[in-house]
Every structure is written in structure tokens, then in C-alpha cells.
């Protein structure tokens, strides 16, 4: 089945074509037969450069040459712009139909697509951008894709590229707000699609590639206690970005050195950073921003985290603001400013918005006073109408600060204008009715401008919130993709919810033994009885319930169901942490996005579990069939020998020479022993695989080796055995099982190898190595790992191929490893590595 991979983006210019070409080049380097069918360079040199060296099939009539491609039969074809509509007269109307024909012919396809071209999203995109999208691709095409790689860059960077002329499409949709919305759409669509497929591993890789771990964070720390919070925030951010991070302290040259206490605090902060997994750097410069930025540029830092200043503005005015300088000089490096105090950002924001803006009022009044003074000064040379214009300007400027200042400015302006300039002057009376119209215009313009300003502000704020939500969802999607178990999913969900919202959260799932009870899989929030009822309702009905919803709105918690496939797998319960009056409903859509992702992740985990179970069953089945064949072959053969030899001895005793008689007797004995060995190994293997727990005790290695050699005395006979087993090595093992390990290894060496047999033990750190080595022909290349499988034999020597499987099973049950090595001077070498017992014999004895 041919594979379709779509490089998916939020808008033109994010780098889809580039990603596709880079991946195609990598495939070509691996030896894949890659052919370019359609790739638009839009005259960009970088794209052209990536195309160089890739074989191409020239378009016919400006369209993809389907027949030529089918005839050429490459392994992988690159086709840009999946949504393209073909020129009239082509075989298919749409390019995606060409792609499907190629896929049917067994050719893999890489293609590119923007989110606005997805049919089901057309309306939404039109709402956002006001552009009607005509070239669309049915959603089913996306579902057919084996892999969707989201190619993403931050909107600001995209706008920069747009400004640089690197983006081909002169589309009107490329405003920052639109880009943010489109990006969110693309992200959601990818997440839904990929998670719905439950291709956990693929997604991990796909998204991992889309957001390359090229990020590197730098946090500036000083002696202030706020630095600790900065470090922790940076660590969290770095985790979300899968980025490396560094904590740097800058010693300012020429300034007074830090006192002892501060120095110690700086060191503590650096130690904290190190313990949290960050690197640390100590810099010295005359200026802190210079030091940070030059370090950042040298080390490819992409973001710098700094603390919000706690001192007054006056200090900045006098001494210059570190932060301002940093931001001004940072170039492409992002600067994150973090508040020094611990409180939720969402709670802090409204407070600042709602505070009356005294400065705006004062400047409005000052402005009007200035206009009035100026007007009085120039009145002689100007008309009353000219002066009204000056007032209009003052009102317009004041209106930019919001409605309050606008109304104040308008009222005061009208009063001042009327009093000072409108005849009769220096009274509030108005002689001509025409002036009333002027007043009305002044008032109206203040209202219009301030309304527009307020609306603009709100949009700006919405965009910020939306971006924050997108980023939160993105981080969540990425982390939850890595969750492998139900508990992981629950834990990641709670962690992200609690970091995004100022809430306490719990993930509740049905108790396995009693599905009517919901128990917390993660999160520490205790639920009262009525809150349990809310969670229960949400679980049973598959709908959100509690605070901010239509159901049980008076509850203190909000419960959102986790829908996994066709069933509800659990419930997220959240409760506002600080401000219980806060409406829970405001964040409901984002919370539901979280719940949807978590639900899909749960479904993915469940299907992965089912797949694992199925694989286990298949393996058991396979084992049973190989067991049957082993039993039929490896047990019957010796039985045949025994039966044959014994009947001959009974029936033809008179005609046998003494030599023949001895031979027959020996073969009976040998094959009986062989049978015993096969059965013993089978039994041992079954026991260990059935979960037999080794009865461990500390035992000198010397004693186990001695016991095994004693039992194999007859088999070893006169063959040379070289021993190097120090008497002070102790392992904690099951003596009976471990004797079997050594017997199998020695037996193996006797059967397949040549003397001398070498047996040595040594300790390296916390491991004790036991090595059994022979000097035979050794092991053929590539067989090493397979030899530990059941029923695999190294040579045609008799045996069921169970001995080494038993060795590995027993050793692994002891927490050790068994490996095969090929010494350079020949022979085979088996190494058992066991954790050393942390006692000496005497300690163990006392």
C-alpha cells in the first residue's frame, strides 16, 4: 500500500515546501527513488537550491504529467499544492485526484496543503479572513494520509518573512490576528486527525519534527529572591519546548562587588538551576544586556527569560532600564518577562485593565489647557473654526485612551471652547446656532474614536488570549502524545490544567472493580458528595456539568467528560483555586479542547493495550506451535533411538558382537540423558516464564561454579577446565536455578565448542560478570541474539535449542543480562552480568 504524507501548514509561507524537499532529499540519500512532479519555487533561490539534484518529470501543459509519472514508476513522488485545480482538458479536475491515482499505482506521495483548503473548514476560514476559498480538498483526503506533518512557525516570524518577500502569496489573510486563528485551526485539525488514528509513536515523531528541538533558553539570575521563580519558570518552559536551558549570572565590571550574602544567594540560584537540569554560566561584562545577548548569540539561544522589575520607574529614568535595553537589542531572540511574585496571570490581568487610568485623564486636561492657551494666543490671526479643529485634535488624542478620557475631553473642550472663543466670548452663552453643531461633532467624534479604540483593544486582547490558549493546547498535545499509560494521561492532564488555569484539577476514572464509583487517577483535589454527583452526571451523559454550565450550575466544580472513541473514559473535574466568584464558564471551550485531547489519548492508550494483548496472544500461540514441533521432534528422536536400540538388544542379542552391543547400550543411555535435559529445560523455562520468583540468597560465586562442575563431572571427563573465580565474589541468586544456568552454559560449551573450557568471574562496579568461554568454531555472525530464543540451535548437534533460552529467562528473572560475545582469538563467550550483592559473606553471616 502506497503511503501519502501531507506537509500541513496554517498559511502560505510557513515552509511546507522546504520541509517536504528536505525530507525528500533525506529519502534520496537513503537510496529511495525520488522524483519531483510539481514543485513551485516562486522564484526563491533557497527552494531552487533544494530542488537541485532531484530528478524531475516535467509538467505537461503546466499540469502534473500523470501518464509520464505512471510510466516512470518512481518510489516516491513530490507534488506541491494538493488543493490545486487542474487546467481544463486535464484527466482529472483536481490535483488530489491525480495523487490518488498515483497512490493506487503503488507510488508514495509527499504533498503540501494549507489549512484553509480543507473543505469542512472553508466556512470558518472565510469567517476569519473574509476570503472565499475555492480550491478545496475533501476531508477524506486527509483521512487517507498515512502521515500528516504540521509545519509551523510563530506568526511573528511568518510576518517577518512576509516583509522580507519570502512568502509567495499576496493574500489578504496574512494579518497577525488571522494567522493566529489559522494556526490554531491547523493545530487542532492535525491533533484531531493524528490522535484519532492513535498513532502515538508516529505522532511523537511527526510533531517532534515539526517543532524541531532547536530552542534554547537563557535565564538571567541575580541575588534577588525572585530569581528562584524565574529559574523554575524557565525550566517549565524548557520542558514544554523540549529545549535545553542555561542559567546565567552576570558580574557587572566596574560596579561595587556583591556582598557575601548576595553572592551566596546567587550561588544557590545557580545550584538550583543545575539541579533542575539546566546548564549554568558565569558572565562578566560592563553591561548586563550586552553580556546576556552576546552569550545568547554565541550559543544559539532563542529565548531569554528575565524578571519583571520591582523598582520604581524613576530608577529606570535615572539609570536606564536593563529590560528596555535587552528588548531593544535582542533582535530575533524572544524576551520573556516574568513577574517576580507568585500569582496567576489571568487574575492579574483584569485588575490592571479595570484600574482607572488617571494619567490619561490628566493628560487629556493638560492637552485641552494647552490648546486653550495656544488658541488665546493666536486668536487674533485665526478663525473660531480653526480653533475648533485644534480642540478636535486634542479630543481625538484623548479618545485613544478609552471612553472615559474621551468623554471628559469632549465635555471640557466644549466648555472651554464655548467660554473662550464662541461669541459672546467669556460667557457660556451661544449666539449662533451653528456652534451647537460644532459641539455635537466634537462629542460624536470622541464617542466614535473611543468606541473603535475599545473594540481594537478587545480584539488585541482576544488575540493574546487565543495565542496563549493555542500555545497551552500545543504544549498539552505534545506532552500527552508521549503518555503511554492511563495514569500518565491523567497526570499530564492535571499538570497542564493546573498550570494553564488557576484551578485545582482531578481526573476521575471508573474504579475497575466497581464501575459505579469514580476514583481519582490523578490530582489531589478531594470531592464532596455533591461534587461527585456533578462528575457522575458528566460521566453518564457525556456532557459538561457544574459551574458555568446549564447543569447543576451552582456546584463549586466544573466537570468535563473525557470521551474516548464511543465511550466516556473519565471526567476532568476542576475547581477555581482562589476566586470562587470567577465564572467557570469563561474557559469552558479551552477546557473542552483539553478534555477532547485527553479523551483521544485515553482511547489511544486503550487500543495500544489491546494491540499489546493481541500481540501477546499471538506470541503465546506461536510459542505453543513451536513447542509442539519441538516436542514432536526433539522428544521423539531420542525415544526412537532408545526403542530401536533396546529392541535390537532384546531380539538379536545372539547375533551381536560385544562391540555392537556396547554401542547400542551407550546410545540408549545417551539419548535417555538427552531426553532428560530437554524435559528439564522445558520445565525450568515454563516455571520461570510463569513468573516463578527466584528464592534468592547471597552465595559465593565459587560455590555455584563448584556445584555445577561437580554435577557435570562425568560430561567434562578429562577435558581441560581453566578457572578464575575469586573467592570473595557474592551474588544474590536462587542457587538451584543458577546452577542450571551454569550447567546449561558449560554443557553448551562442551557440546558446541572445543577445550579448554574457561570459566571466570569478576566484579566491575555494581555488576558481577560471569564468563563461560570455549575455543571452538565460535558463533556465526548475526546469530548471537537469536541463539537466546527458544528452539534455536547453533549447530546440528543434538538438543532442543532450549538451553540458552533457559539461561536468559533465569538470568533476567534475577535482574541480570545474558549476552554472547565473539572473542577475537576465536571461540564463543557467554557473559552473564548480575547486580552484585551489597554484602560481604561475613556481613551476610552476622
Amino acid at each position: 500500500m502506497a503511503r501519502l504524507k501531507i506537509f500541513f501548514g496554517a498559511s502560505p509561507g510557513v515552509g511546507k515546501t522546504t520541509s517536504m524537499l528536505e525530507e525528500a532529499r533525506a529519502a534520496r540519500a537513503r537510496g529511495v527513488d525520488v522524483v519531483v512532479c510539481v514543485v513551485e519555487t516562486h522564484g526563491r533561490a533557497e527552494t531552487q537550491q533544494l530542488l537541485d539534484g532531484l530528478p524531475a518529470i516535467a509538467p505537461r501543459n503546466g499540469e502534473l504529467d500523470l501518464d509520464a509519472t505512471l510510466a516512470r514508476r518512481p518510489a516516491l513522488v513530490l507534488i506541491d499544492e494538493l488543493a490545486h485545480t487542474n487546467a481544463p482538458g486535464s484527466k482529472h479536475v483536481k490535483r488530489w485526484q491525480d495523487v490518488f491515482e498515483l497512490l493506487d499505482a503503488g507510488i508514495d506521495i509527499y504533498t503540501t496543503l494549507n489549512v484553509q483548503h480543507i473543505e469542512s473548514l472553508g466556512d470558518v476560514v472565510q469567517q476569519i479572513t473574509g476570503v472565499k476559498v475555492t480550491e478545496t480538498v475533501p476531508d477524506a483526503v486527509l483521512d487517507r494520509a498515512d502521515e500528516i506533518e504540521l509545519v509551523d512557525i510563530p506568526p511573528d516570524q511568518l510576518l517577518e518573512r512576509l516583509a522580507d518577500g519570502k512568502v509567495n502569496a499576496p493574500e489578504s489573510m496574512l494579518s497577525r490576528g488571522n494567522l493566529l486563528a489559522l494556526r490554531e485551526l491547523a493545530l487542532r485539525r492535525t491533533a484531531e486527525r493524528v490522535d484519532a488514528d492513535m498513532l502515538a509513536y508516529r505522532r511523537q515523531q511527526g510533531i517532534g519534527a515539526a517543532w524541531p528541538a532547536g530552542e534554547r533558553l537563557l535565564v538571567a539570575v541575580g541575588p534577588s529572591p525572585g530569581s528562584e521563580r524565574l529559574i523554575r519558570a524557565t525550566k517549565r518552559m524548557a520542558e514544554g519546548l523540549h529545549a535545553e536551558w542555561t542559567a546565567a549570572h552576570v558580574e557587572v565590571l566596574g560596579a561595587a562587588p556583591l556582598n557575601e550574602k548576595d553572592r551566596e544567594r546567587v550561588e544557590n540560584h545557580l545550584r538550583l538551576a543545575e539541579s533542575l537540569g539546566g546548564e549554568i554560566a558565569r558572565l562578566a561584562d560592563r553591561s548586563v544586556p550586552d553580556a546576556l545577548l552576546s552569550y545568547a548569540r554565541e550559543h544559539n539561544v532563542t529565548r531569554i527569560v528575565a524578571g519583571k522589575p520591582t523598582h520604581s520607574r524613576w530608577r529606570d529614568l535615572l539609570r536606564g532600564s536593563l529590560l528596555d535595553t535587552l528588548i531593544r537589542l535582542s533582535g530575533t531572540i524572544e524576551i520573556h518577562v516574568i513577574a517576580p511574585l507568585q500569582h496567576g496571570p489571568q487574575r492579574a490581568a483584569p485588575a490592571s485593565r479595570d484600574r482607572p487610568n488617571y494619567v490619561a485623564y490628566i493628560s487629556a486636561l493638560v492637552g485641552i489647557a494647552a490648546v486653550t492657551a495656544f488658541g488665546l494666543a493666536v486668536f487674533r490671526y485665526a478663525t473660531v473654526a480653526d480653533i475648533s479643529m485644534l480642540y478636535l485634535i486634542a479630543i481625538a488624542l484623548a479618545s485613544l485612551s478609552g471612553r472615559g478620557p474621551a468623554l471628559v475631553a469632549a465635555s471640557v473642550s466644549i466648555a472651554a471652547f464655548d467660554f473662550c472663543f464662541v461669541p459672546p466670548r467669556f460667557t457660556f452663552a451661544v449666539a449662533e446656532m451653528g456652534y451647537l453643531l460644532t459641539f455635537a461633532v466634537m462629542f460624536a467624534s470622541s464617542l466614535v474614536i473611543s468606541t473603535l479604540t475599545v473594540r481594537l483593544r478587545r480584539q488585541e486582547r482576544d488575540a493574546v488570549v487565543r495565542e496563549r490558549n493555542t500555545v497551552a493546547l500545543l504544549a498539552f498535545t505534545r506532552d500527552i502524545a508521549a503518555a503511554a499509560t492511563r495514569e500518565d494521561v491523567a497526570a499530564v492532564t492535571v499538570r497542564h490544567l493546573e498550570s494553564v488555569f488557576p484551578v485545582a484539577a482531578s481526573v476521575l476514572v471508573p474504579e475497575p472493580r466497581d464501575p459505579t464509583q469514580l476514583v481519582a487517577a490523578a490530582g489531589l483535589m478531594p470531592l464532596a458528595r455533591e461534587e461527585q454527583t456533578v462528575a457522575r452526571w458528566a460521566f453518564d451523559h457525556g456532557e459538561a456539568a457544574g459551574r458555568g454550565t446549564d447543569t447543576l450550575p451552582t456546584a463549586r466544580v466544573l466537570a468535563v467528560p473525557l470521551v474516548a472513541g464511543a465511550t466516556t473514559a473519565g471526567v476532568i473535574a476542576v475547581q477555581a483555586r482562589h476566586d470562587v466568584r470567577r465564572r467557570g464558564g469563561a474557559a469552558l471551550p479551552l477546557l473542552e479542547s483539553f478534555a477532547r485531547q485527553a479523551g483521544l489519548a485515553l482511547a489511544r492508550v486503550r487500543s495500544a493495550e489491546e494491540a499489546r494483548d493481541a500481540a501477546l496472544r499471538a506470541r503465546t500461540e506461536e510459542l505453543r506451535s513451536s513447542l509442539l514441533s519441538a516436542v514432536s521432534h526433539d522428544l521423539r528422536t531420542p525415544l526412537a533411538v532408545i526403542t530401536g536400540a533396546a529392541t535390537t538388544l532384546r531380539d538379536d542379542a545372539a547375533r551381536l558382537t560385544p562391540v555392537a552391543r556396547d554401542e547400542l547400550l551407550s546410545s540408549i543411555i545417551d539419548d535417555a540423558r538427552r531426553l532428560e535435559r530437554v524435559l528439564g529445560n522445558l520445565l525450568q523455562l515454563t516455571r520461570v516464564e510463569a513468573g516463578l520468583v527466584p528464592a534468592r540468597e547471597p552465595i559465593p560465586v565459587e560455590e555455584i561454579v563448584g556445584a555445577a562442575l561437580t554435577r557435570l563431572e562425568d560430561a567434562i571427563g578429562e577435558r581441560e577446565v581453566k578457572l578464575a573465580v575469586p573467592s570473595d565474589l557474592i551474588v544474590s541468586v536462587d542457587p538451584v536455578l543458577f546452577e542450571q544456568v551454569l550447567i546449561n552454559l558449560i554443557d553448551n560449551a562442551l557440546k558446541h565448542g572445543a577445550p579448554p573450557l574457561e570459566l571466570s568471574a569478576s566484579r566491575a562496579g555494581d555488576t558481577i560478570d560471569l564468563v563461560v568461554r570455549d575455543h571452538g568454531a565460535g558463533i556465526p555472525d548475526g546469530d548471537s541474539e537469536r541463539l537466546f530464543d527458544k528452539f534455536v540451535r547453533a549447530s546440528s548437534a543434538p538438543g532442543a535449542g532450549l538451553g540458552l533460552a533457559v539461561v536468559r529467562a533465569i538470568v533476567e528473572a534475577h535482574g541480570g543480562t545474558a549476552t554472547i560475545e565473539r572473542p577475537r582469538d576465536g571461540g564463543a563467550q557467554f557473559r552473564i552480568a548480575l547486580p552484585a550483592a551489597h554484602v560481604t559473606l561475613l556481613e551476610a553471616a552476622s
Binding site: L683, E702, A707, T710
Partner: protein
Amino acid sequence: MSATILVVDDDIHVRRFLRTTLAGHGHTVFEAGTVATALEVIERAHPAVVLLDLGLPDGDGLSVIRAIPAEQRPPIIVLSARGQEGDKVAALDAGAEDYLTKPFGAGELLARIRVVLRRGGAPAPDIIEVGPIKIDQPRHMVTIDANEVHLTPIEFKLLVELARQPGRVLTHRHLLLTVWGPTALEHNQYLRVHMAALRKKLERDPARPQWLLTEAGVGYRFREPTT
């Protein structure tokens, strides 16, 4: 050395093999297939040795051992399969003399019977000589090929306990009880420490012992010198 031997096993083929082999070496053989018959034969015929299979249709072989008071009990050799170390230890601790792991050869069987018969209850002599090792009990002296070896009192006690019954397996429990006393029963490590020390002093290569043999999961055995 011919004796009366009782074979207790519910498998008729095993009994046939044992009967043929033992009779061929001049022993008188009785057979029993159940616990009840076995006890009856023991009371009636007073066999010199009992070969006892642990799995019998009407009960555990252990019940045969336990049913007979120690002073009237003939030496019992338990027949068991590999992997049943726990059963072996239980049987030995209940009073069985030795065990044989199935499948076994005729030579091994006869050797074990010989060891059991030879013992015959006689107390160990003051001077025990096994192979090159000579233990002079009254003088607390041990020599190998006439070279004196210095042993601690515990090592000496342990060696005597093993060497006075060469060829017989002694369980960890038995050795701990006789050498250290009842308080040491849980401390297999005592035994391992002193066995390791003894081997170091008596064996040419302690990792390939000639005399002090380990029976994994069961106990230790002093090798019976081949004569």
C-alpha cells in the same frame, strides 16, 4: 554385602528395574505400591534399606517416614525428580538418610545403598580417614597428606560432621543444628562462610571441589572416596 531392600514406588516399571538390578547384586527385594503396604512390609520384614518414592497414590512419601518412630526406622533413600529440592529437604529433615534424583543409573543407586548400609549406626571412630584427609578428633588435628591444617573450632566441628558420614548429604538445617545449635537455624550464611573457608584450606581448587561438594538448594556432601 547383601541385604533386604524394600522398594516403594507406584510405577510398576520403576519397580521392575529396581528389582532386577538389586536382585542381580544379591539383595532380597520387597515391593510396595502404596503407603499402607509399605508400612506393613516394614513392620513385617524389617528391611535394611527402604527406597521411597515421594508421590504415592494413597499419600505423601513423607507420611511413611513420619509414621515410623526414629529408633525403629530403617535407613530410607528418597527417590525424587530434579526441581523438587524443597521436597528432598523436607524428607531429609524428617529423617530420610539420603536421596536419589530420577533418572539415576544403577551405579549411583548401588553406591548410595552401600553408604547407607555401611553406616549401620556405628559411632564415628576417633580418627577419621577419608582420602588424603585425616581427622584426629581427640587431638583436634587435621592433616592432608600428613601436612597439618589449622582449623577454627567451628570449621573443625563442621568438617567432622561431614566427614564422619562420607557420601551422605547433610541438609543446611542439619548442619546448622549440630554445629551451631538451634538458634542458628535461619542463618544459611554461617554455613556458607565456613564452607568457603574449609574449602580454601582443604581443597586444591575451591571452585572445583574434590571433597566438600555442594548439593544446590539442599545441603553439602562429603565425597565418598572411591576404593
